[in-house]
Symmetry: C2
Subunit: 330 residues, 2 copies
């Protein structure tokens, strides 16, 4: 606890910073948000979101991970898919199809409202952080929702089967079926940390690496030079929640990525622990993987074994509470 706790928004002297990609990350972000809301502490949370998946499509500036986290935190998310908006329709998409357009990327009608608003804001010279701030406030989200940077960064996936692909081409158009050989985050070297991310990561109370894909969702965030530098120098704990449970990714291609990118023979929580070894100090391990506890502890982690499957709001909030309790922040 810092001495200046009364001058910050947090009773604990700093922000609880969650690093998140899309659906998996959004679930834990929601758990943290809901738990902190019950304590009237929602403002302590800052979710820093990957924007390497962003793309321009039909002239619309689309930020899939920001949208997923925003819809999730505002209660708008489609509970079946985890992304998109509940009850959304696809009339625009149907019309585009009538004109012969190849609709490889889903655009819900409400979703398009989000994309139009964001695109217009950026066109008017606002930063992505500013437009996101406007939107999250309008949707009643009480915590901070921060893009990893304002500059466009594009995750380029080099695959065995199809060469270099823009992220959404790999992920959506080709259904993440290709073997990934390497990743580049185009533009990230020129990206600067935003004032808002810098502020959140200055003496934070906790950094949580959400159960998002370590390669495709978390690595781009950490690839923003000053972001990695700042996180590396925090004095608070950095907690990893494994996105691999029972040898499988909860969602998406993380397991296959671990084999082709991580050089692991099998996807495992231990493999995830290896990725963040020396960087993070705490690891949240699912009970089904409890036998890996010893090996992960050997990587200098303090390990909490618990049920990490977030199937409903209650389990999300409970997991968040356990994480915060483990760090004396509940």
């Amino acid at each position: 606890m810092s001495d200046n706790q009364t001058q910050t928004t947090s009773d604990y002297g700093g922000k609880i910073v969650a690093l998140a990609g899309g659906v998996g990350g959004a679930k834990l972000a929601l758990g943290l948000y809901r738990y902190l809301q019950t304590k009237n502490r929602a403002k302590e949370l800052a979710v820093v979101v990957n924007t390497g998946d962003d793309m321009e499509y039909l002239g619309l500036k689309i930020s899939p991970d920001l949208d997923t986290v925003m819809y999730t935190l505002s209660g708008l998310a489609n509970p079946t898919t985890g992304w998109g908006i509940q009850g959304d329709t696809a009339q625009a998409l149907q019309m585009l199809g009538n004109y012969g357009h190849n609709n490889w990327f889903w655009l819900g009608d409400k979703d398009i409202g989000t994309h139009l608003y964001r695109s217009q804001g950026l066109r008017e010279g606002k930063t992505l952080t500013q437009v996101t701030e406007e939107m999250r406030r309008a949707l009643g989200i009480e915590c901070e929702l921060l893009p990893m940077c304002n500059e466009p960064v594009q995750t380029i996936v080099e695959t065995e089967e199809a060469g270099k692909l823009a992220f959404q081409e790999y992920f959506v158009k080709r259904r993440a079926a290709d073997t990934v050989k390497s990743l580049t985050f185009e533009g990230v070297e020129q990206a600067e940390i935003t004032d808002e991310v810098c502020h959140a990561l200055t003496d934070p109370a906790l950094v949580v690496i959400c159960p998002s894909n370590p390669y495709l969702s978390i690595r781009p965030i950490l690839a923003v030079p000053q972001v990695r530098q700042l996180i590396s120098s925090v004095s608070c704990p950095i907690v990893v929640v494994s996105p691999i449970v029972g040898g499988n990714a909860l969602k998406g291609p993380a397991a296959s990525n671990m084999r082709s990118l991580g050089g692991e023979t099998e996807a495992s929580a231990l493999g995830v622990a290896r990725i963040y070894a020396g960087f993070a100090q705490r690891f949240i391990l699912d009970t089904v993987d409890a036998e890996q506890k010893g090996a992960i502890e050997e990587l200098a982690y303090k390990v909490l074994v618990t049920n990490t499957i977030m199937k409903d709001d209650e389990s999300k909030t409970r997991l968040a509470q356990e994480i915060l309790e483990g760090c004396g922040l509940a």
Copy 2:
């Protein structure tokens, strides 16, 4: 009938060219289209549409009159409003409203599909004529649908109450309630006739000025320098269908425009006849205005008195048939 009739698409040696704005023009265009379809002659029709109302809104390239005619001819139009698509929703608009956007311009979700497709085509370097051609073919429209030009032209409405307004600001945002002092068609001097409009207007069989607002819908078309020149030199009849019936505009601000722009004390079919006097040779007068027949004939028109109210498909087709019969083209 020309000698080269077998070499053209028309049995009559040339196109039936309809000049149209939005809802009123679209109705007669549909009548002509449906009538010619029954004769397997739909390809003889070319509808040349006002694009002075076009605007960019939220980054979308919107062509309201082209859309109205296209939706009407393809059977997609909302029969209640005359514009927009039947059964369209407004989910994107609702979401934009959630973010605090001032939704002064209606955007149906299906409509947005149209705008996204058009915007993307223009961004790829296609002309408005080319994108429109793709869309009308995709929607199964068998006649030509031609923007008046490819260059952006913007109708600027100078009003007594609010000074200079972009067209949609005058028409939609302020509900056409201001008194119009003058019009300018920004960009029209630089606009060139398109190959397609030029072809349609080369030895046409008939030119029909649809019951659209003479100032706001037809004048911009005729303001394209070569279009006016070419129409002025046709040897076929030019027929005017009055948009003023019983002293009122069938739709929109035409009656008020006739007073403030046309210097008429009252809106009337005769006033419409004055606008096109010396330019057009035939006039379609509604039976309720039959007493104006003599005065209109004095302006050197051949006048056909008939019921011009197009309340359903049958009345549209019947009016079209009467117009064509009057010119020996039925």
